[in-house]
């Protein structure tokens, strides 16, 4: 594989995490404009742990996911009663708060005689754990996709289980779900924490792939993109968000056909696609049809 292909596939894998995070909330019926905040929490905390204090990446990733889940709960608890655009705006406000907090964050320690750590709007450079551990880009790409595959397997298992049906039930009609004896609040908080941890996982890997992050990386553009990925790919299966990411990053950026017109092509494609398929390419009906074909053999 040449460097360009590796770069495109790595980016697609990284953004698939936040797309899956947005997808998980969409399943529970919630539209979040703010998943980029937890992606950022993961990127900053994971990067700080490895670059400033020399933690190994796996341990740093675990702590970063925990912090992502805690941050997500801190947003989810006060917004539990909000629906629709109110919820979307509250998550957007929380994410912008997080972005400004990253801008204000200045904490540097000397590492090998060099001040290392977040430097406000100047960003955070020197997250070099992957390079220093002698991991090749190709190996890191394999690692990202291995983690992603594990996450996808979890999603597929969840969707085939009773838990998945409960989740979709809450998304479609929370009142009905509550009437059936489901503790909707607890479910929603659990989903928010899981989605926060998932986004944080993507953030840790993103920081270690780029070695440099800045607050601007985690603005609303990232959040709305992840929503768009989840929706164009389809809400029928966890492969949907992956398809969404691959269409944008893989097809349009990777093919280089639309150089300079990529956004016009991507935007038009998405808008037209949503006219024909308002719940994405792989919506529930397509997934059911595929499943029936599979099981009849």
């Amino acid at each position: 594989m040449d460097d360009y292909t590796i770069g495109v596939l790595t980016n697609a894998g990284l953004f698939a995490f936040i797309a899956l995070s947005a997808y998980l909330l969409l399943l529970a019926g919630e539209l979040s404009f703010g998943q980029q905040a937890f992606f950022g929490v993961g990127a900053y905390s994971g990067g700080m742990l490895t670059a400033m204090w020399g933690w190994p990446l796996p341990l740093a990733a675990a702590v970063a996911m925990l912090l992502g889940a805690i941050a997500a709960l801190a947003v989810a608890v006060p917004t539990l009663r909000l629906r629709g655009l109110y919820f979307a705006m509250a998550t957007l406000a929380a994410a912008e708060l997080a972005r400004i907090a990253f801008e204000l964050l200045q904490w540097q320690v000397p590492v090998d005689g060099e001040a290392t750590g977040p430097d406000g709007t100047q960003g955070f450079r020197g997250i070099r754990w992957v390079l220093e551990s002698g991991i090749e880009p190709q190996t890191f790409l394999a690692l990202i996709w291995a983690v992603l595959t594990a996450v996808l397997a979890l999603f597929l298992a969840l969707e085939r289980s009773k838990l998945g049906a409960t989740l979709r039930g809450i998304g479609e009609d929370p009142e009905l779900a509550a009437a059936l004896g489901i503790d909707v609040d607890r479910w929603k908080l659990g989903v928010a924490a899981a989605a926060g941890a998932l986004a944080a996982m993507g953030g840790v890997l993103y920081a270690h792939h780029n070695t440099y992050i800045e607050p601007r990386n985690f603005d609303i553009m990232l959040g709305v993109h992840s929503l768009a990925y989840a929706l164009i790919g389809g809400l029928g299966t966890a492969f949907g968000p992956l398809v969404g990411v691959l269409v944008d990053i893989g097809l349009l950026e990777g093919s280089r056909v639309f150089e300079g017109y990529r956004m016009i092509a991507f935007g038009g494609l998405v808008a037209l696609l949503l006219v024909v398929r308002p719940r994405g390419l792989l919506d529930e009906r397509v997934v059911q049809w595929l499943r029936n074909r599979f099981s009849s053999r």
């Binding site: 912008e96 708060l97 808008a271």
Partner: protein, 291 residues
């Protein structure tokens, strides 16, 4: 100190007037369609870019001609957004419509940067001289124009909504699209007209903001959408008078917070305020279901 407070209040009201124009347009679309149009700001931005393009080709063009181009461009872009993102989803998913409007935002933004490649472009100010002096306080001519335009637009809009058949149709559709349809009002046609009206108001705001900032950038699109949504949210979702009050509050809080704490903490304060208000959910704010 007191003089600064008065000056900040003056600046805040002027900024609030521009937010009011933006928010009224945003709220009109939201109130009637029950859908958030993320491309609202980018469509205005494209109108401003067309006016800038015209100004660069023909520097002799006057303010009125540029305003007409900005408004016309904004309405054209708005019509494109309505056809592609909202007409097909009239009965369907609000989320699909919103994500489609985001996709078109990407298109409009790239279109603007293709038309005028560098990042920032100069836009002619309305008036070259010094700001007006009012009892020792400065008031820019652009701010005065903004206040007048906002007042005029609100009065005109009130008259349209309360005194014309079109306004009656709009209010009927807001109250109940089904009942409006049954009484012979064409809901799709009302949507199109409301979209055109909101885009025209947005175009006026866009022209005045560009003239008072004396520049245009592709970032303006996000700026218009965010300010419009913020003001609408602060004023209680979907009410036009609420949007005006929300816009004035936003302008005032911003102006004072900027003076006291600087721009970073100003934004922090605004978003913290919005989050706290949404979480607390006062009755004037959470008025209608908005899914």
């Amino acid at each position: 100190m007191l003089a600064d407070l008065v000056q900040n209040t003056l600046d805040g009201v002027a900024a609030g007037a521009s937010y009011a124009l933006i928010a009224v347009g945003f709220t009109l679309i939201f109130g009637v369609l029950r859908r958030a149009n993320l491309s609202y700001g980018p469509a205005i931005m494209l109108g401003c870019y067309l006016a800038t393009l015209a100004f660069q080709r023909q520097p002799a063009l006057g303010a009125l001609a540029l305003a007409a181009i900005a408004i016309g461009g904004s309405v054209l872009a708005g019509a494109y957004v309505e056809r592609l993102c909202f007409a097909p989803h009239r009965q369907g998913s609000a989320i699909a419509a919103m994500v489609a409007s985001f996709a078109v935002w990407m298109q409009l933004e790239e279109l603007a940067t293709l038309a005028l490649p560098r990042h920032v472009h100069a836009f002619p100010a309305l008036y070259d001289g010094a700001p007006l002096q009012l009892a020792g306080f400065a008031l820019r001519v652009e701010s005065l124009a903004m206040l007048l335009a906002a007042g005029l637009a609100c009065a005109l809009l009130w008259w349209m909504l309360e005194r014309t058949r079109f306004g009656l149709a709009v209010r009927a559709v807001i109250a109940s699209p089904v009942a409006a349809e049954l009484s012979g009002i064409s809901v799709p046609r009302t949507f199109v007209r409301v979209f055109a009206l909101a885009s025209a108001i947005g175009g006026v705001a866009g022209f005045l903001v560009a003239a008072s900032h004396e520049q245009v950038t592709p970032m303006m699109g996000m700026w218009f959408t965010l300010k419009g949504m913020l003001a609408m949210m602060l004023g209680g979702l979907g009410s036009l008078s609420g949007a005006v009050w929300g816009a004035l509050a936003l302008g005032l809080v911003e102006a004072h917070a900027q003076w006291f704490f600087g721009p970073q903490l100003r934004d922090l304060l605004i978003y913290a305020l919005l989050f706290a208000l949404l979480a607390a959910g006062p009755r004037w704010m959470i008025t209608r279901s908005a899914s």
